[in-house]
Every structure is written in C-alpha cells, then in structure tokens.
Amino acid sequence: MQKKDMWLAVLILVVGAIVYMRNPLFISPINLGNTANLIGLFGLFAIGQAFVIMTGGIDLSVGSMIALLGVLFVELVGRFGVPWPLAILITVMAGTVMGLAHGLLVTKLKMQPFVVTLCGLLIYRGVARGYTGEATAGFPFGASFPELEWLTVGRSFGVPHSFIALIIVGIITWFVLHRSVFGRHLYAVGKNEDAARYSGVRTGLVITSAYVICAVLTSIAAIYFAMFTKSVQPSSHGNFYELYAIAAAVLGGFSLRGGEGSIIGVILGAVLIQQLQNLVNLLGIPSSLNFAVMGGVILAGVLADQQFNRYRERQRAARALDALNREAAAPS
C-alpha cells in the first residue's frame, strides 16, 4: 500500500468516526450494508475509468453507457425472455464494442479522448431515450430470476454481492495494473508515450485496451445498477456517473495527465465519495448540497495532498543539508 493510499484510508476512518459521533446510525448494519452496496456499484466502473485516466485519457460516456446498457439488459431479459447468462454476455459484448470504438477513434484516428467520449455520452443517452420513447424499461410484473438476483442484489452474511464483486474485480485489476507486463506498459504510455513506443511498446494496443477494460467494467456495473433499481428511466439513469468515477480516481491519487495512481487508491476514492453522500443523509444536511460537499472535499483533498508532498520534499532536503553540515564540521 502506498503512503498516499494510507492517508486516504485514515481520512475515511476519521470522517467515519466523526459521522458516527454525530449519528450512531452510521454503523447500523442496514446503513453499512446499503453504503457497501453503493460502493460496490460505483467502485466497479471507477476502476474502469482509472485505466483510461492512467493513459492520460478520460471516458465521459460511462453514465450514458450505464443507461443504454441497462435498457438493453432489462429489455433482453424482461421483454425478449433471453436467458440471463446470455443477456449478460450480450450486454458485456455491446460494452466491449463501445470501448473498442472509443479506443480506435483515439489511437487510430488520433481524436481526443474528451471529444470522442463526450460524443459517446450524447449518443448513448440519446439512443437509450429514443429506443424506449422516454418510457421506463422494466421487468414484467411478477417476473423473478432468483439466481440473477442472488448474484447481483443478494447478500452473504449481510455483505452485498456488488461489494464482493468489487473486491474480486479489485484484486484482479490490482494484479493487472501493478504486477503485469501490460500494467507496466500502461504506466509507461501514460508517462511518456513516445519513449514507450521507441521501446517497442504497442502503444495503440495498450491505450485501446484501457478503453475496452473501462467499457467492460462499466457494462458489468450497468447490469448491477439495472438489477438494483429494477427499472431503467432512460433520461435520468446514470446521469453524472462519469463524474463520480473521475472524482474517485482523482481522490485516489490519479493524475489526469496520466501515468500515476493505484487500484487501492481509486477504490478508496469510491469509498470516500459514498461516505460523503451518506454523511449528507445522516447529518441532515439538505441533499441539494450533495454535490457541493463532494466538490469541496475533492478540492481540499487534492490541495492537501499537494501541499503535504511539497512539505515533505523540503523536510528531506533540510535533513540532508544538516547531515552535510555536520560532516563538514567534523574534523576530517
């Protein structure tokens, strides 16, 4: 665990303690379970976003993807009676195609990630709304899919399965990002794409893969969200979710310039954001202030991190100078 991540964990505990002191309901099993569920849902695609940000890119389309893929999944299962494992497969495939399209537009046609995914944001949302005619997509009355529900909204020992999914995905992606050759290439591309290319890294492939990973994780999240809300209202479902993901990555120590960040960081970032939402509820702060609280905390967090780093640099230099002076003072 990096130092940065540790401080974030401490911050989460401190905020948790404060909220608990003001409202003991914070640690009630129901509240913890619900929050864990939300952490799982939002964490899944935040990790995806982190891969894209690692390359110095950004994916603004995830919120719309969650809506469109949610509609797709619900329609497949609820209306067309497609067996749910097949429906999952189709949904993830559809997500993969979107991610592939983003990646290829960015790497082959040299379009800017912001532009590509901004268009994605608009297009996917528009398609979702157009297809449903603004109507809510839902499962037929009385339909039930016990295994699917167990997998997505079920709990074991009170732990929501979405949270467990996050942990599993977190472990896998941790290895991918921090231990695999691909991960190393990802860091290199984020920090200096040219040098990576000259070293034989297939930069186009690496960047495209990042968008695909993002889209795959987002489509999994989309299924979880659809099962969680049971119905998908295409004009509001998933609105602004890309911002939650980006915020989680930034809080978790990712640099939007690329080449910096860790999986533990982005997961902790997602935890902190959900904790803040929870805090707004529990402390009776008007929920309209929700975003303001989130923005304020992110700003303060990133600022503090920067200042702290600068302070540590100065401390280290001062200590080194001291050592030098002592050496000079000692008779030689």
Partner: protein
C-alpha cells in the same frame, strides 16, 4: 578548494555554494569567479555538478547554502527573472522549447514584443529573430513551427535565443552536443565575437577539442567539488582528462579484433517519407562499426527510424539475414533483433518519471516476467547488472531517471538495449553529453558488440568520434548517400567534403 585566478574585479562570483538532494550531494562548497570577456570552460564527469552549479546561477534551482554576487549585488538565491535581469543568458543542456509555437515565438517567450495596442507584434519578433538565426548558422526560418525542427536545430534555436537577450554572461551547457562540425565552428565564431564585446561565456562540454579551442580558463569539477583549474597555456587534452577523472585515460578507441563478416541488413533503393526525393543503397555488415556522418538535417536519424518502424518506408527493399524485412512498428523491429538507441533521451529514450530500474526493463519485460506478471526481483537484478556494467552513478536504481545527470540518463538508455540480444543496433548520437571516461566505456561496448558479430551503426555528429570509432564511414547529404570512406581514407577533410558537397 577554490578557483580564483583571473584578473581584476570579477563580473560575478559564486561563493561556497552547496546543493543537497536527498541522498545526493550535488555541490559541496564550490566557489567560482567569472571575469569580463573571458571564456570559462567547466568540465567534469557526468554527475560532477556542472549543470547544477549553472542552474543555481540561472535561478532555476535554489542552492542549499552559499552566496551569489553579480556586479556589486549579493544574493542568497536568485529567481529566473532576477538572473535574467542581471544579464545572464542560459542555454540549457536539456532543451526546453515549446513545440506548439514557431521559432520566433520561442525566442521571445516571456519577452514578447508588443504593438502599441498591447497585442503581440508577430512581424517585429520574426524580423528580430532573423539576424540571430543567421548568426548561429541556422537554415530554418522564424516562422517555422518548432515541432518540425530536429534536435540539433532546436539547439541552435536555444543558442540564438540566448543571444537575443542583452547579456553580460552567457551560459552554454553542452550547446554542441548534437551539432556537427560546421555548426560548431559557427558557434566558436559567435563565442569569439561575444568575447570581444566584453561578454563572459561559461562553456560546458564533453568535447574537449572544442574546449581547447575556445577556453581562456578551465575549471574542473569532480563529485561536486572544484578539482582544480587550468590557465590558458596549460589547457590540453590530457591535462583536462586528468583534471576530470584524476588519472590518465588509456586509449579511447579500440581497434576491431575480427574482420567484418557477412551482410546483416541490406538496403536497396530505400526511400523514406521524410526524404522522398532520394534513394539509399547500403549494406550493413556484421562485426563492423559503420559510422554515419552528415550535417544536421541530412536525414540520418530519419533513415534509422524508418528501418526501426517509425516513419514510413515508401519504396525499396530491406533484406535482413537473407529474408525480406519490413518493420511497421518498433515492436516488429525489436522482435527481429534490430534496436535503436534514440538521440533524444528526454522525449523518446526515457520515461523520465519512472525509475531507472523500470526504464531498463521496459523494452524487454517478457524476460523478467512469468505468466504475464513482472518479477520485481528479476527486474532489479537486471537493473543492477546494467548499472554496474555501465557505471551509472546512482546508488538506488529505484530513483526516477529524471534525477540523474544528463550523461547518466544516457547510460540508462544504453542499458535498456544492451541488456538484450541485438542482431543490428543503431546508436543515434550514443555519446551525446557523455564524459570521456564513459565515452571510452561505450566505445568498448560497441566494439564488443561488433566483435560478437552484431551489426553496429553509429550515427554521430562528433567528428573525432566518427573517425576514431568507425571501421567504415558513410556520409549522408540531404537524404542521399553522398559517399563512403574506408579506414585509409578517413580524415576530417574527406568527411566534411562529402557532407557539405563541393570541395
């Protein structure tokens, strides 16, 4: 120890300067005085602290202790603006240009000429830039976008920019590291002019021939200390080497121990996208060091890059060990055993914000990993082996490459490629910014590769090096092969004649 000789009131003085980084003492108690109209050369091995000392003077870094005196003003530390205001112009070792601006825009960055209404007077800036570019012998125009300039041209731009400041002292930190002989000679003339105008020049270079030619006084740095100084009449090659490394250096160049073998790569009618008007025919042989000379802009780098899979080959045929070969990406070239040590370490050679260790294994993660997972231990072992082999000055290979001195960064780039098994390796300016001791190590490495049957191609703008190291020299002019020289024909005159054309 201090370096104080010289006459009269000094123009500027750096006194008892120390600079400490965590884990590294870059400068310790250095004193240096500079006088009006003198050319002071600063020499020392890679990491000796030359650039650091100059950055203190340029206001780029804060010294940990010591004072700076310019004229009769004393400073504990300078800012870049104060330094400029005091009449100090700085040509940095690592070029810092704005790719997205034109040449004139770069030259007047931060000092833009304005019209009466306060808008930028682009015409005036371009007009002012023209004579300065002519003075340094640059052939590009003020309107040219800097992204289109080669490394050497960027270096000329930086020099011209320094001249555009009305300076009392001009610092040049390895200004010629990617210039060829003719541009270097132009620079020597510029320095002589500056000197006769009473402007002091602080000149840093690892090309001792240049130092001998232009310096009035030489100060040697060793491990952050002043190691001593040489007065004008004491300046010669051996004395400078002794000052830098504290001992004599054995022969710089090693002759080949085997005759060159068969052709590794043959180029037939190769036309690349950068120089589509000309074709190149060339056989690269195993076991020899092929020197590639030419002026700045002759298309040497572009040719090597095209073979390496960067930039397109439009026409022609490449034959690698008897089989037709064409790399579309560097990966394919590397898999075929063709490597390229690029000339611009900052942009294409290194991931500066990654550790030395990670940089060394970047091109070959396959061999330090298992089941797709990188083994930290194998990676570390490889990095340590390369560090020791190349003498990279870093106790800790987990440090960022950005923290190394320029020469040591270059060694990291070499380490990356030398840890693998090449069939053919292009060295594009392999000793750019490298000290003599390390140079001789690198020549030995190249010779060792050649003796082991590898084809070695060395693109170099350093005439001494081209003549000393190569077994055969080809010269490029405007993308065209203008001639080939065998060892018996090697001379500065012959190389230059082919490079410039005419006689």
């Amino acid at each position: 120890m201090t370096a104080t000789t010289g006459t009269g009131q000094p123009l500027l003085a750096l006194e008892n300067i120390s600079k400490v980084y965590p884990g590294v003492i870059a400068l310790s108690d250095v004193t240096l005085r500079v006088h009006h109209g003198e050319v002071l050369a600063l020499i020392g091995e890679n990491g000796a602290g030359k650039s650091t000392l100059m950055k203190v003077l340029g206001g780029v870094i804060e010294p940990s202790s010591g004072t700076i005196t310019i004229g009769d003003r004393h400073y504990d530390r300078l800012s870049v603006l104060e330094s400029q205001a005091a009449g100090i112009a700085f040509v940095h070792q690592e070029l810092n240009v704005f790719d997205n601006l034109d040449v004139a825009g770069n030259m007047f960055m931060g000092r833009e000429i304005r019209t009466r209404l306060g808008f930028m007077d682009i015409e005036a800036m371009r007009k002012a830039a023209r004579p300065l570019l002519r003075r340094v012998g640059a052939s590009f125009k003020p309107e040219t976008l800097v992204a289109n300039l080669s490394l050497a041209e960027r270096q000329l731009l930086e020099i011209a920019k320094a001249l555009s400041i009305d300076a009392r002292v001009v610092i040049m930190d390895e200004p010629t590291s990617s210039l060829t002989l003719s541009e270097t000679q132009t620079l020597m003339k510029v320095i002589a002019d500056l000197k006769s105008d009473g402007i002091a020049v602080i000149y840093i270079s690892h090309r001792l021939g240049e130092v001998e030619q232009c310096a009035d006084r030489v100060v040697g740095l060793r491990d952050g200390h002043v190691a001593g100084e040489l007065a004008k009449h004491e300046i010669n090659h051996d004395a400078m080497i002794r000052l830098m490394i504290g001992r004599d250096l054995k022969a710089l160049y090693t002759p080949p121990s085997v005759a060159s073998g068969g052709t590794v790569l043959s180029l037939k009618g190769i036309k690349n996208a950068v120089n589509p008007q000309s074709r190149v025919n060339l056989d690269i042989r195993a076991g020899e060091i092929l020197g590639v000379a030419g002026l700045v802009g002759a298309g040497r780098t572009e040719l090597a890059e095209a073979i390496f899979g960067i930039g397109d080959i439009l026409e022609g045929e490449l034959t690698l060990a008897g089989k037709t070969f064409r790399a579309r990406t560097p990966r394919e070239a590397i898999d075929a055993g063709i490597y390229l040590v690029p000339e611009d370490r900052k942009r294409t050679g290194l991931v500066l914000e990654s550790s030395i260790c990670e940089n060394i294994s970047l091109a070959d993660l396959g061999t330090v990993s298992r089941y797709g997972l990188v083994s930290q231990k194998a990676q570390l072992r490889r990095a340590l082996a390369q560090r020791d082999r190349l003498g990279i000055k870093a106790n800790d290979v987990m440090r960022n490459a950005a923290e190394l001195s320029g020469g040591n960064q270059q060694k990291v780039v070499l380490g990356k490629w030398l840890s693998m098994n090449p069939k053919l390796i292009f060295f594009d300016e392999p000793t750019r910014g490298i000290d003599v001791g390390a140079k001789s190590e690198i020549y030995k490495l190249m010779r060792g590769l050649a003796d082991a049957g590898v084809g070695v191609v060395m693109i170099s703008s350093d005439m001494e090096e081209v003549i000393g190291v190569s077994d055969r020299i080809v010269v490029l002019r405007e993308g065209r092969l203008s001639g080939e020289l065998q060892r018996a024909q090697f001379s500065e005159h012959n190389v230059l004649k082919l490079a410039v054309g005419g006689n």
